[in-house]
Point group: C2
Chain length 179, copies 2
DNA sequence: ACGGACATGTAACACGTTACATGATTAA
DNA sequence: TTAATCATGTAACGTGTTACATGTCCGT
């Protein structure tokens, strides 16, 4: 909703391009699908916060390019001024880890290996600058957010590699001893 | 939904106690409110995955204690065996950071200070073992998850403190120079 | 006396995803 | 030819939150 406003503030864009942006440097922060973007854009247009200009293309559907209005800019500022609540996380991975003792050890190991692999891939994407925002350069906020993502993934990877034994072998190989 | 099953696997509990658990060591992983817990419990009971025993208390509403059935245990195993998808994160804080350049620097500083404060508080909670699960001791999975949370928060704190200049002063004090 | 913990539940609402529907162009 | 990219949108569905509704006991 208000995120579309925010993205538009970086330059005019179509719904398709906004979706692209959610796949780019934004991906750690929040996700969105067409089903939420297009209705939001329409609602914003109805409220006068964005304008829409349609470019008819010969053999494709019209490309509708949205631009922020003055009112939209004001609304964005207001939204952004709210103090942000805590991050909401839903980690099926950690849920699995909590109950790892109920699962076959080989499965747990597989899940962990998979997580490490996807995180490494993600890390490569982020570090090799797979940046596709409407505005090209790396502005302060984008740089910060990207680097934040990199830092979190690295920390996560490191932690998992150093502590996987807690969920992998522990219950099976050791009796609850002094330590 | 299936999370309630999982929690019940650690011991019988009432809806109220389950809610408690979501506020304890689980809080980083997923949240839940009464509005989702009670209906889930009823549905699970309807499907025969849990049983419910009501203890009438003199001056309070009946305390309904739910227990996992054999079928429930099987269903839980199946749910847990699915390979977990990527973590879903929604961070209003990072969104604010991305667009920090649109906001007054003092506000940005305030938001960052606030985030640091809440993270430090959270860290204290986690490290001082504010553990309230139905099962007392620190099983492998719980220990792993708790330590994971601690590691992530520490990494986050460290990153924010070392990189806040990227969103705070940068655009205002420095021209885009070589580095 | 007041607020918080104990204790359960419902109804309305908001949000977002998934899948569907359509259709051209281009690179493998 | 087959898949991916470009391009927009709708409808159904599920899930989860918020607020409401109720009532006691205990500590300050």
């Amino acid at each position: 909703k208000s995120l579309c406003l925010a993205i538009l503030s970086m330059g005019d864009a179509s719904g398709y391009e906004i979706k692209k942006f959610f796949e780019g440097p934004f991906s750690h922060v929040c996700e969105a699908s067409y089903g939420s973007i297009y209705p939001s854009l329409q609602r914003l247009a109805g409220e006068g916060l964005v304008t829409c200009e349609a470019f008819s293309q010969e053999k494709r559907p019209d490309k509708k390019v949205y631009s922020l209005t003055q009112a939209g800019r004001a609304a964005l500022l207001e939204d952004l001024s709210a103090i942000p609540g805590p991050d909401r996380v839903r980690s099926d991975f950690l849920i699995t880890m909590i109950f790892a003792h109920l699962l076959p050890p080989s499965h747990v190991a597989g899940v962990i290996d998979g997580r490490i692999a996807t995180y490494r891939a993600l890390l490569d994407d982020l570090e090799s600058g797979a940046l596709k925002g409407p505005a090209g350069g790396d502005a302060g906020g984008i740089a910060f957010t990207r680097a934040y993502g990199v830092a979190m993934i690295k920390a996560s990877l490191e932690f998992i590699e150093q502590n996987r034994h807690l969920v992998e072998g522990a219950a099976l190989l050791r009796a609850p001893a002094t330590e």
